[in-house]
Amino acid sequence: MTEPSRWSSSAALRLREHPTGTTAGAEAKDPSPAPVAVATGPVTTPSGWTEVCPLERVQPERAVAALVAGEPVAVVRTHDDRIFALHNLDPFSGASVLSRGIVGDVGGTPVIASPIFKQHFALADGRCLEDADVAVATYPVRVVEGVVQVGHA
């Protein structure tokens, strides 16, 4: 199992920890060609962090559902051990199911596919690749001492 230190150095992870911070350095290190200057909604520092589960509970290239401040959240782990958090509600069906989709990439952009109608949502910013007008919310996420935490307002 991967050590926590590797997590905290991940570009995606740092972005989530410091949504207001500069992304220049992060972009340079990010192996993904996807834009990492993400729209995570309100640019605020999380007021709290919710512990979700030990990292090893999330299988690489799969997601788990968690309850964060009353909201269902999909916590996704990619093959290169980056972690993302998106709202779990599939906007096209209204079902709380994104965490049960298949994780992969479309044109190099890491995505999760809705298991209902198969639209793809970019892990980095929640936008739907099939419909530019639709996006799901994303959340700050970090791993502290082997435990995944999701930030909330």
Binding site: A39, G41, P42, T50, E51, V52, C53, R57, Q59, P60, E61, R62, V64, A65, A66, L67, A69, E71, P72, V75, T78, H79, H87, L89, P91, F92, S93, G94, A95, S96, V97, R100, G101, I102, V103, G104, D105, V106, G107, G108, P110, V111, A113, P115, I116, K118, H120, R127, D131, A132, D133, V134, A135, V136, A137, Y139, H152, A153
Partner: protein, 887 residues
């Protein structure tokens, strides 16, 4: 489908409709009615078809295949839509015997009187039997109808039984196209065929001397005894009960049966009786409109003499059928010159003839290439300047036929010799590109290259099946189907077979790679043969391949992450994120005790229950964390996974069977149960459904399944390639009267060949259609092992059968696999609050979201554009404001 004569009488027809009476339901009569019904979109005509034979129209061109593997059903031309058409009344076994042209009424042998507005004669032709003494003896036949073939078959069997073991001979009088077909039929029946032809060569109409010589040699190699330049003097019954045929050169042949196939004559007796003018050599005289002297009487096909000339091929007959259908619906088309080109495979030997094959035009030159070693003969007939193609003969190899025929009457792109030279020796070859637009690609249906190109350019067709559907090209004899593919390619239509952006290979190619390399993980496969990290297209596809190649549980290790949500949770996700559960009920059988268990589970978990189309019970509305508890109870009661969630075998539906049914002839339920247990869990490119019916009444609807079995008196008939759904298809007969062992072995191979070579999400019907050679090819592969892969297919299926284990029982015993069945990883006791149910018709169904049901989030999920709501932290990026995001 030996349909009964249809008895819907004159009670129903629309009074305003005009009546067309068609005399004769052969290939041309059938084509006429099909064409008329297609053109007559307003239903202005009602059609009454009077057929002499006891069967609806069938493919007479493929007659000889009837004695081999083709069934009557396969040869049938009239499909169920046709037979069910309210505007078509078909009367079988009721020949028209008289017509009162002034009153416009047809009288039939059965005494039926049918008034008409328009009368179409499509009586075809009758075999010509020369006045040979003895032609009236028993065991002497003609070769025209399925009844003739049935009689020929039983006479052969009787003669063989009478005379005991050893090979017996049969004599065919006539060495033309039909005579060779008949000889092939005799060979199929196990006789040594002798062919007697008066002309100095076989097929004198189609081929020249050089081609005839080669043809004689090639069919001789196949066991035909050919006698040319002689006639038949007499046939006598010998003292042992057989026949002796005396030839004009003194030869005497002992034979069990004799078949006359010495040409045909137009069946114009009715026309003569009612005073219509006929041509000098027979045939009803018609003009270019195919109209007789009587403006309400038309004639088409072999009975018609257009401007005095009759045609004995199906393609000109079809053209006439189209002309009359067009005329009756207000068109102005005319029958012009007919294409008398012929291409056929006789006893495996290619023979083709086109245009002016005998160089009768003044100054015509012949270019010949005779290769006795390769067994090919080619001749082109060109104008005296060598530039324009007039005709040709090909024997032994006719692969250039479609292309060459396209150049008829056109300037050749090069030296004529280069066109027929074998490939690789400076041959230029002729590409589709060089063909003029007017070149006819499908001669049966008169479809030109231009028409095909237009269908492609307009976007109507981008695949061979689409091209067939919208132009009808390749739908009759099928010989031009490979050319259709070339036309598509020449138009730049390249249908990518790549699985997805991560794999350039097709599913079949990737399957072969995985099979050959023995790779067992997606990471290895995508790393070595693909790019990126995969997606929701290639991952489940590879998971399916690994399931049939590597085996193991579908949720083992990395395989688990590849699975679609249904396979990942071993249940079917419904629109509100809950799942449905289908335990296996093999063959649709369930005990009262089993029903009680299912009922108690449904009651205790509040599940909505529904009977499925596949004779099972589906329980809806289980939340993900409830699945293990539900399955614990099901497994404890002896149920196992029904794989309703997988691209896998679903059910084998069965009828009531011989245990109960008064009509069943075989034990369909036992077979259905055995098949379902044999193939349960088999992962495949798409779902697989099956059915077994215990008699021809077909109560299990087996022909709407991927593989369907119907009992016969002697065993089982196997049908493949059926489905319901978006494009319903009837399964086609692949083999008849199989014993159970052969049946199961054939299904084993069918399924494994499908698993290996189909595209992702391709049901069996389009898969078979896409195979080059279609159903015949499939039959050769799985029944005759033409590819030499059957041992490997058998072995792979044996491995599947022996390694099967219930997926749900395995999950219940594995804490690691069970861990995924949780609502929230950090709040496993909290059910998903978004899942709510309401009462609908007294049942429990998901709340909200559709159909005006009570809903908590009214505008959610209907349209493509989603707006934010208080409970739905989804935002429209164009008008986003901080308050809208619910974090």
């Amino acid at each position: 489908m030996t349909a009964e004569p249809r008895t819907r009488s004159a009670a129903e027809p629309d009074r305003s409709a005009r009546t067309v009476v068609v005399v004769g339901h052969g290939m041309v009569g059938h084509r006429f009615v099909e064409s008329l019904r297609r053109r007559d979109t307003d239903g202005a005509y009602r059609v009454v078809l009077l057929a002499e034979e006891s069967r609806p129209a069938y493919d007479r061109v493929a007659l000889s295949s009837y004695l081999g593997k083709a069934s009557e059903e396969e040869l049938a031309l009239a499909d169920e839509d046709f037979l069910a058409d309210d505007l078509v009344d078909l009367h079988l076994d009721d020949r028209a015997v008289d017509v009162d042209r002034s009153a416009r009424v047809v009288t039939t042998a059965g005494g039926r009187r049918v008034p008409y507005d328009e009368l179409v004669l499509a009586t075809g032709s009758v075999p010509f039997v020369p006045p040979v003494p003895g032609r009236e003896l028993d065991d002497v036949f003609v070769y025209r109808t399925l009844d003739d073939l049935d009689a020929l078959r039983s006479a052969t069997e009787a003669a063989t039984a009478r005379a005991g073991a050893g090979r017996h001979a049969g004599v065919v009088v006539g060495g033309g196209l039909l005579g060779l077909e008949a000889a092939d039929a005799l060979r199929t029946l196990g006789l040594v065929p002798h062919v007697v032809e008066m002309a100095p060569r076989l097929m004198p109409v189609q081929v020249d001397e050089g081609g005839g010589a080669l043809l004689r040699r090639l069919v001789g190699d196949l066991g035909l005894r050919v006698h040319t330049g002689v006639s038949t003097s007499e046939i006598r019954r010998d003292h042992r009960g057989g026949l002796t045929v005396f030839l004009s050169d003194g030869t005497e042949l002992d034979a069990s049966v004799v078949v006359f196939s010495a040409g045909i004559r137009p069946a114009d007796a009715l026309a003569r009786d009612i005073g219509l003018p006929v041509a000098e050599r027979g045939g009803v005289l018609v003009d270019g409109r195919c109209r007789t002297q009587d403006e309400h009487v038309w004639a088409i096909g072999e009975v018609a003499a257009v401007d005095g000339k009759t045609y004995g091929l199906v393609a000109p007959g079809y053209a006439m059928a189209e002309v009359v259908a067009d005329r009756l619906t207000g068109g102005g088309s005319r029958f012009t010159e007919a294409d008398m080109s012929t291409k056929l495979k006789l006893l495996g030997v290619d023979v083709a003839s086109f245009g002016d094959a005998h160089a009768t035009a003044g100054g015509a030159l012949e270019v010949r290439l005779d290769d006795p070693v390769a067994g090919t003969y080619s001749k082109l007939v060109v104008t005296d300047d060598g530039r324009t193609l007039l005709g040709g003969v090909l024997v032994g190899d006719a692969s250039n036929y479609e292309t060459l025929r396209g150049f008829l009457g056109e300037a050749l792109p090069g030296d004529p010799m280069a066109l027929i030279a074998p490939a690789g020796e400076g041959a230029v070859g002729v590409g589709i590109d060089a063909l003029p637009d007017g070149a006819q690609i499908c001669s049966c249906n008169a479809v030109t290259k231009g028409a095909l190109v237009e269908a492609i350019a307009s976007g109507e067709a981008s695949t061979v099946p689409e091209l067939k559907a919208c132009t009808r090209a390749g739908t009759t004899c099928g010989s031009c189907v490979p050319t259709l593919g070339k036309v598509l390619a020449s138009c730049g239509v390249e249908v990518s077979t790549a699985l997805c952006e991560h794999f350039t290979q097709s599913r079949a190619e990737l399957y072969e790679i995985v099979m050959a390399t023995g790779l067992t993980t997606f990471s290895q496969i995508v790393g070595e043969y693909g790019t990126g990290r995969g997606c929701d297209v290639c991952k489940p596809a590879v998971a399916s391949m690994l399931a049939t190649l590597a085996g193991g549980h579908v949720l083992d290790g990395e395989q688990a992450v590849l699975q679609d949500t249904n396979d990942h949770f071993l249940a079917n996700m419904q629109r509100n994120g809950t799942y449905s559960i289908v335990p296996r009920l093999p063959g649709g059988e369930v005990s009262g005790e089993g029903l009680i268990v299912i009922g108690e589970i449904a009651r205790d978990f509040g599940l909505y229950t529904k009977i499925t189309g596949g004779q099972r019970i589906d329980m809806f509305g289980a939340r993900v964390e409830q699945l293990p508890a539900i399955w614990r109870r099901l497994v404890d009661a002896g149920f196992e996974s029904g794989h309703a969630y997988g691209k896998a075998l679903r059910t084998v539906k069965s009828c009531v069977g011989t245990d109960w049914c008064r009509y069943g002839v075989q034990d369909s339920v036992s077979l259905a149960v055995a098949l379902e247990l044999r193939y349960r869990g088999l992962r495949s490119p798409h779902k697989l459904k099956s059915g077994v019916s215990g008699c021809a009444r077909e109560c299990a609807e087996a022909r709407s399944k991927d593989f369907g079995v119907i009992a016969t008196e002697h065993g089982w008939n196997l049908y493949v390639g059926g489905n319901g759904g978006f494009t319903p298809r009837h399964a086609e007969l692949i083999a008849s009267d199989l014993d159970t062992t052969t049946l199961v072995r054939t299904i084993d191979r069918f399924l494994m060949f499908y698993v290996r070579t189909a595209d992702r999400l391709q049901r069996t019907a389009p898969w078979i259609e896409g195979l080059e050679g279609g159903l015949d090819h499939l039959r050769e592969v799985i029944m005759e092992d033409s590819l030499g892969i059957c041992p490997s297919l058998d072995e792979q299926m044996a491995r599947h059968v022996s390694s099967y284990a219930d997926e749900w029982a395995a999950v219940l015993d594995d804490p690691e696999k069970l861990a995924r069945f949780t609502s929230f990883v950090n709040a496993p006791g909290t059910p998903d609050p978004s899942v709510e149910f309401v009462d609908h018709r007294g049942h429990r169904v998901p709340a909200g979201m559709r159909d005006g049901q009570p809903t908590e989030v009214p505008e959610l999920g209907f349209g493509p554009r989603v707006i934010a709501g208080p409970r739905l932290p989804v935002h429209d990026s164009a008008s986003r404001s901080p308050e809208e995001v619910g974090v």
